[in-house]
Subunit: 361 residues, 4 copies
Amino acid sequence: MPGNTFGTLFRITTFGESHGAAIGVVIDGCPAGLKADIDFIQSELDKRKPGLSTITTQRKEEDKVEILSGLFDGVTTGAPIAALIFNKDARSKDYESLKDVFRPSHADYAYQQKYGIRDYRGGGRSSARETAARVIAGAMAKQLLNTAGVEIYAFTDAIGKIKMNRDATQKELNNRFSNEVRCPDETTAALMKQEIEKAKAEGDTLGGIVCCIVRNCPSGLGQPVFDKLQADLAKAIMSIPSVHGFEYGSGFEGITRKGSENNDEFFTDEKGNVRTRTNHSGGIQGGISNGMEINFRAAFKPVSSILKPQQTINQKGEIAEVKIEGRHDPCVIPRAVIVVEAMTAIVLADHWLRMRTDKLY
Amino acid sequence: MPGNTFGTLFRITTFGESHGAAIGVVIDGCPAGLKADIDFIQSELDKRKPGLSTITTQRKEEDKVEILSGLFDGVTTGAPIAALIFNKDARSKDYESLKDVFRPSHADYAYQQKYGIRDYRGGGRSSARETAARVIAGAMAKQLLNTAGVEIYAFTDAIGKIKMNRDATQKELNNRFSNEVRCPDETTAALMKQEIEKAKAEGDTLGGIVCCIVRNCPSGLGQPVFDKLQADLAKAIMSIPSVHGFEYGSGFEGITRKGSENNDEFFTDEKGNVRTRTNHSGGIQGGISNGMEINFRAAFKPVSSILKPQQTINQKGEIAEVKIEGRHDPCVIPRAVIVVEAMTAIVLADHWLRMRTDKLY
Amino acid sequence: MPGNTFGTLFRITTFGESHGAAIGVVIDGCPAGLKADIDFIQSELDKRKPGLSTITTQRKEEDKVEILSGLFDGVTTGAPIAALIFNKDARSKDYESLKDVFRPSHADYAYQQKYGIRDYRGGGRSSARETAARVIAGAMAKQLLNTAGVEIYAFTDAIGKIKMNRDATQKELNNRFSNEVRCPDETTAALMKQEIEKAKAEGDTLGGIVCCIVRNCPSGLGQPVFDKLQADLAKAIMSIPSVHGFEYGSGFEGITRKGSENNDEFFTDEKGNVRTRTNHSGGIQGGISNGMEINFRAAFKPVSSILKPQQTINQKGEIAEVKIEGRHDPCVIPRAVIVVEAMTAIVLADHWLRMRTDKLY
Amino acid sequence: MPGNTFGTLFRITTFGESHGAAIGVVIDGCPAGLKADIDFIQSELDKRKPGLSTITTQRKEEDKVEILSGLFDGVTTGAPIAALIFNKDARSKDYESLKDVFRPSHADYAYQQKYGIRDYRGGGRSSARETAARVIAGAMAKQLLNTAGVEIYAFTDAIGKIKMNRDATQKELNNRFSNEVRCPDETTAALMKQEIEKAKAEGDTLGGIVCCIVRNCPSGLGQPVFDKLQADLAKAIMSIPSVHGFEYGSGFEGITRKGSENNDEFFTDEKGNVRTRTNHSGGIQGGISNGMEINFRAAFKPVSSILKPQQTINQKGEIAEVKIEGRHDPCVIPRAVIVVEAMTAIVLADHWLRMRTDKLY
């Protein structure tokens, strides 16, 4: 059953396995007339590229994007945009020892049950390497949204028990990729890095929270009932490997407030713009953006690929010990930040196009 | 742009406004040969019916379901099942005073911006009354899942600051609808009821958490990449009015654990079934159910319709005071529990059918 | 598996059986702000209403449309529009004798094989009565297209061996529903009527051709590759019961022309409009409307419900004779003309909305 | 707006332009466990490869398929299968002279109107070269259908005025690709070849008819109402460039028969199989396959790229003469036969999978 396509009007289909020939994406529905900046796409990919720092996997992939179709003289034509990244540093032999055992908290067992076959090399299709394809699509979505002035900022809000306990300034947001952990607060970032290095030294891993805010988003994005903006964002974000939670606006914390404390009063600002005094709605009301800042948070579990030996079973159901080799991230958050931005951009681009058919005109 | 359809193989389309002639649903894709128990559908609807207790809205709706198609001698034929509930106790005049103002934290403003027109009577399409249609569809989905033994239990886990701090027993789960707040712990339920009554007396409202667990779910549900089971569940639950957060398995809390603490080790139990010793995965790995208990939690904000006067603006952008009349729930959780179950059932039924095309056979 | 939904942005879902409680449709995606003329919808339905003349079935159905949702003060709000027709003159007992036999060239056998159960009363879901729901949706689509000036004219081009061998004038097109057979040429119409009456007297039935032309259609409708305008029109028309062929522009006849004879040369007319000297392209090039008149033809087989006794088998596979009772059309064409228009309008409305996201602006 | 995806459960997305880097396809939904024969895919591609004979275009493309994903040890894993053909012999300079004029009966003008930009090199996305990607997908669909014994035979039934006036034998069907025109009757094939050579010599082109029959198709494929098997086949076939007509079973010819002549009587054959004495239904009743042979015909217009000078307009709307250079087919039918088979296989594979959710079991 197909499950590799996302979006309705800005629609992406990804393909490829971690240790296959290539991973890639087809973007169908990008409007004609958009000047595509390939360098920008590459710079986005570079933000999730492995091997960039001591706290990420040491797999060396250049992750160079190749655009195969959909552009003419650098401009979109309305035709599908296919893009590829060839895999270069796959070391499948690292996985030979894993072909008969199910790694704890990985997709191995579930895939085997579902399909009766699995590509065990690097996790195959279940590898987070697939998200590179999403970043390509996200980079196109961002360029589309740029024409409307929409700005998307994701950043690391927590790593394990280390949390950034304040809002970021606009300048900090602009520089969010300037440190290795992608936390806008440099002091917190340093602490987070230490924490990751410590876990790595122990052969262990950490989780955390990515926060995302969207500025200058027009009102009207999202559809009533099932395709509410928060519902589509939740699906997009929850489809990223390791994400176990999503909340927007008042989120989980807001449940202890009373309605009179939580409601966002409307007013008209000095420029004549309708705004709300608080923003517990997170920029979305009735499933539809209201022009205020959209904000949400995603909880990532600690990476399942730990280097410590673990108990598990093999394909026959017998007890087995597994010791994961291969090159892995001790914490996925720093590289996931750009993936969160990409999925956010894809959802917003889709709904920005969907909005065009709302009214008679 | 269409947004009123949910699901791929078990697909529902809802329609109708709070104060229109009727609300309803078309279920397309329910397999032929299922004996449909209409009394069961009605009993599910009765669990979200307004006016049942002192802590819910006093609108009196019988919410009687009428099945128009898709059954022959009480059995599904494969044809679409259309079901209706006629609205009987709409008091649209209660809303006359609201037609020119935007209620804080409601859909009013966003709808107006999006469509240039809105049905202000009872919130029109944005009303949670729409969820009655989902309950009908959920009741059919449950009957379908029953043939595979799948059991779904949602219940109230928190109301405002009152929280049930333990797991429910199977017996408590079976009796989860026996008290008005739908909390399996009777003592906590009593406290919750008091809390709601207190808020109601103040003209205020409360939020809370609904927890849902699924037992006896086969492995293999969910699809890799975008249509992961947790992603589709998140979308389904986040599309319910007032939900601001979704988490499954280790959720937000789990981010402070290390990988070695969070991983779920596999073993084979005495019956030969593969199980995990812990279940931080929440029954889902790589986006696919692994046969363990599925569990998730949904955060509901406090109801926006408070009876206290509030500052807002009118359609001209001028400051206005709004005092909401009408009949409203001081807390939506007790009636939302069955809606969470319905959406869960719809997602699982869909993926249970999708699973049929995974393998060659 | 769902199969009762058609369209992507202007999307309809129909439901209901011939002898069930009601038939109906949900239209999702009709833009907000369209003034809906219910009388017009009813007048469209009246064009396919049974019992109108001596050459149609004598089943008496008022076919009165009831709109349940999606309108506010008579204007579309962007919410789904649900519409119903209650069945009033179903005589299910006429079908008792047919419950164990498979009528030749009907859906009986195929449905039984597919579903293991079938609603034999009046053909259940396979009845052409379902097309009344399409006419309702088509009437809304026409009103939407009216805002762009698009004009749709279907008419009877052939009944059995009687054919209208010339183009219709604009005046004749405007009056196409003025005679019972819906043929713009009154002389031919009279011959056709005789032919139908003759077949009816023999307990036999006739087929024919419906031609459809679309005037004032903007260029740009249709999508490259799979969703070409002719492909979506073909699917729409071929989904109408009894249709066995579809051709547009040069069609089947054109295969004997050479490229140099068949190509349509462009020129700019005195008003500065780009036109072609011939129109073998039928108004569609590369899958996309080019602004010229769109034209196509649909072949309808003779009605399968003949009153003569026929050989067949029963559910046990034994030879049986079947004699169809009930009330049936000796020729479906006169009532199918409006259905062809409806499906055409639905396809064009869908592509007219889809066109809005083609370009950056 | 996306339009490059076809199918619901066996779903393909194609991409690439005639003179771009590559063309390709992503197949999503092919069940796991299918042994993929890459040589077979290549042999299918070879049947539409350009430059094979004197009566096809002289463009030299090896059309070598590369599979990038979805297979593990040569077996499908349930992951999307991406396949590429790199373009090697594109001579874009042949098209320089065409960049400002609209070739008659091509997509040039319609694309320009729709998108405001077009890739004029070889027709860009509108080129029939895109169908090579469909052939790859069709080859996978055929392998899937092989597991159920389904056999698909398309062949050339007419070229211009030369028509094969009889049914083909099974042996002739098996050898349908043994001559250059793909007509099972060798004598007719020779005449057709002469006709094509004659047209080619004149710088002119021909159209024709491709007939397709499907043997051993199970009953139950197709869905009631909109996704009738004939409707999805019609869409699939009408989406192939140059196709202007589609008919199945009794088709256009059948409209002159009476119901009593056209109805197919059921009987049980000596093996206990339910069959019909005639097959005017073309193997499909009520939109669903009935187990009889499925048959349909597609009308192809003469190729629009003629070498004779033609009148047209340029992008400014001024009269211009166009003389098409480049390498073109004088008749598309011989290479289109395998494309018709591919699209047929894709539709049948899709419905064969869809059938799995029809019934409770």
